[in-house]
Symmetry: C2
Subunit: 353 residues, 2 copies
C-alpha cells in the first residue's frame, strides 16, 4: 500500500485526539502508508511530542473547528466551514490524499462527503455500510443510517454495493445477499421489502432470500440489506444488548463470593466472546457510493480500531472499490427499477408527503 | 377473577399440547378461572388422564385442525375452517368465553381475530403489543408485527393503546411513552416518525421523546412505539442476541478446565440475568384493538408461561381494558390526524402502490 495517503480526522469521537493519533502512529510503524492528520495543530503537536513521535513522517493540516457527536449535518454544512473533517475531505478533493478516515458523527460525515466529493455514477443515495462482527465472522449490514426514507431501487443499489464491498474488502468470493425481514417466506414484510425481494430474486446476485433479525449473527448471509432506519435501530440495539449483558453478569456475580471466584475463572472466556462481538473494535463503516473513499469508525474507537480503520481505507483505494462499484451498478442495471417507474413513484411520494 | 372463562388454544406452539394443558391445569389449581381447552379432543383427554386431572372442572371443545407456525394467515382464513384457534375465538364471539389465550402463529391469530371478532371503535388497525422483559422490569413495545405498513395515525393509536395497557395491566400509574428512533433529537428519523413525533408532542400522553434501540432495555420509557416491521425485527434481534450469548459463553468455557469450574460457580448468576431477559417466560403479547380479548404467548411457552398468559387474559377482562381502550382513543382524538387528512394520505398511498 505504498504511496497511498490517508487523511485522518484527529478531532472526532470519544477519545480524540489522543487515541486517534496513537492509532495513526501505529499504522505508520506497521505499514508504508502516508498519513495527514487534520485538526488543531497545537494539540496534535503536543501529543506527538509526548509520544516522542514528532519526528515520524506524519503531516498535520490545521483546522480550527471540530464536529461534535450531536451536531446536526445541516448546522455543520452551514456554520462550521473549517472543521477537521472538512479539511480532510478537501485533501481528497485536491488529490493530496486518496482516502479519509474519521471517527464519530456519521450523519455529518455523510452530508459533508456528499457535498464536497459528490456521488458515484449510478448511485442515487450513498449508503453507510456497517461491518458487523458476528459469532462466526462478520457481515455487511447496509444501510445503517445513510438513507432513512428508502425506495426499492435504493435497496437494490445497496445490495449491489454491499456485494462489491464484501467481495473485494472482506474477501468473500461469492457473497450471499439477504434481505432483512420479519419472516423468511417471500411474501412476508412491508411493501418496501416485498418490492425489493422481487427485484433481487431476478438479479444475478447470489440472493438467498429473507432473513430475520435473530439470524443476523448466524452467518446465514454475508450482506444483509435493509433501509437505513431499520439498520440503524438493529445495529444500536444489538450493540446495546451485548453491552448490557456484560454489565449485568458482572453485577449479578458480585452478589455472591463463589460467583465472584467463578467470574475470575471465566473472565477470559467471557472476554473472548464479547471481543468477538465488539463493534467498536471491528468497526469501520465505509460510505459506499461517494466519489472518494471515506471510512467512518465507531465513536468509541481506540488506537487499535483506528489503525484497522485506516488500513481499511487504504485497502479500499488499493482495490479500486469505487470503480468496481460503478461497474457493478452498471452491470446490474438491467434488473433495477426503470427510470420511468422510479420517477413516477418518487413524484407520487412527494405529493403524499 | 371468579366467573371469567378463558378459551385456551391447546394446539399451537412448540410444546403443544402437553405444556399448554399443563399450564391450564396449574392455572385452575391456583385461581378460580374457568378454562375451555380447544383442539383435538382425544389427544387432550389422553394428556389429562396421564396427568390424573381428567376430573378437574375443565371443558374441552373439539377442533379437527391446528394452525402450523408457518401457515400464512390467508391460507388459514381460506382453507382451515375448523382450527383450535377458530373454535376458541368463536367461543368468545358466542359469549361462552371472555378471552382467548393462544401460543404461536401471531399473524394467523391477528387475521382470525379481526375476521371473527372485529375491531374496537376508533381503531384503524389492531396492534400486537410485545411485553419485553428488560434488566429493570418490563416495557410494552407496540407494534411488534401487527401492522407493517404504517401511517402516523396508526402510531398515534398504538401510543394511546400502549398507554392504557401499561397503566391497567402493568400497573404503571403514568406510563412514559417514547418513539423508537435512530437518535434522540426531535428532527431525527424517517418521515413516519417525524410526523408521529409532532402529534405525540402535542398529546396529553406523557411523551418523553425519541429513544434509540440501545435504550430499549434501559427503562427510559414504559411504552415504546414503532411500526410493526421495525418492532418485529427489534424483538427478534434482541431475543436472538441474548440466546446466542448464552450458547457462546457455554461453548467458550468448555474449552478450558478452569473456565468450566468458573462456569459452574457462576451458573446461578448467569441464569438470573438470562431469566430476567427471557421473553418466552415473561411473554404474552396482547392483541390491542380487537373487539374481544386475545393474548398470544411465545411459540416456545412452557407450562409456567402458559399459566402467566392465561392469567393476563383474565386480568385483561377484569380490568375492562377494551372499554378503557375505546375511551382512551376517544379522549385523545383531538390531537390525532384528522379524518380528512388521513383519507387523503391513504388515497395517495394507494395510488403509489
Amino acid at each position: 500500500m505504498e504511496g497511498i495517503t490517508v487523511a485522518v480526522d484527529a478531532m472526532g469521537g470519544d477519545y480524540a485526539p489522543e487515541e486517534i493519533i496513537r492509532g495513526a502512529l501505529r499504522t505508520i510503524q506497521e505499514t508504508q502508508l502516508n498519513i495527514i492528520l487534520t485538526g488543531n495543530e497545537n494539540e496534535i503537536k503536543k501529543i506527538l511530542e509526548k509520544e516522542n513521535k514528532d519526528l515520524l513522517p506524519i503531516r498535520i493540516c490545521h483546522a480550527s473547528q471540530a464536529i461534535g457527536m450531536t451536531d446536526s449535518p445541516f448546522e455543520v454544512l452551514r456554520h462550521k466551514k473549517d472543521t477537521s473533517l472538512q479539511v480532510a475531505l478537501e485533501l481528497v478533493k485536491k488529490n493530496q490524499a486518496q482516502a479519509v478516515f474519521t471517527v464519530g458523527n456519521s450523519g455529518a460525515a455523510l452530508a459533508l462527503a456528499m457535498f464536497i466529493l459528490g456521488r458515484l455514477k449510478g448511485v442515487d443515495r450513498p449508503a453507510l455500510a456497517g461491518i458487523i462482527p458476528t459469532l462466526e465472522g462478520r457481515i455487511v449490514l447496509i444501510d445503517v443510517g445513510g438513507v432513512v426514507n428508502c425506495h426499492a431501487y435504493h435497496l437494490v443499489q445497496f445490495a449491489v454495493m454491499g456485494h462489491v464491498f464484501a467481495k473485494y474488502i472482506l474477501d468473500i468470493p461469492e457473497p450471499r445477499v439477504a434481505l432483512l425481514n420479519i419472516g423468511e417466506e417471500p411474501l412476508k414484510g412491508n411493501d418496501l421489502v416485498k418490492e425489493t425481494y422481487n427485484f433481487l430474486k431476478k438479479s444475478p446476485l447470489k440472493f438467498v432470500g429473507n432473513i430475520e433479525g435473530k439470524d443476523i449473527l448466524h452467518n446465514k448471509a454475508d450482506v444483509v440489506v435493509c433501509d437505513g432506519f431499520v439498520g440503524n435501530i438493529a445495529l444500536k440495539l444489538g450493540e446495546g444488548v451485548v453491552e448490557d449483558l456484560v454489565t449485568s453478569i458482572k453485577k449479578e456475580a458480585q452478589k455472591n463470593p463463589l460467583a465472584q471466584i467463578g467470574l475470575i475463572l471465566i473472565k477470559k472466556s467471557l472476554r473472548r466472546v464479547f471481543e468477538k462481538l465488539d463493534y467498536s473494535e471491528h468497526g469501520g463503516a465505509p460510505l459506499l457510493g461517494i466519489n472518494g473513499t471515506v471510512i467512518i469508525g465507531h465513536g468509541r474507537s481506540r488506537a487499535k480500531a483506528v489503525k484497522n480503520g485506516i488500513k481499511m481505507a487504504a485497502t479500499f483505494v488499493k482495490q479500486d472499490i469505487n470503480n468496481r462499484l460503478e461497474k457493478g451498478l452498471r452491470e446490474h442495471r438491467a434488473f433495477m427499477p426503470t427510470k420511468y417507474w422510479r420517477k413516477l413513484t418518487e413524484r407520487l411520494k412527494e405529493v403524499v408527503s
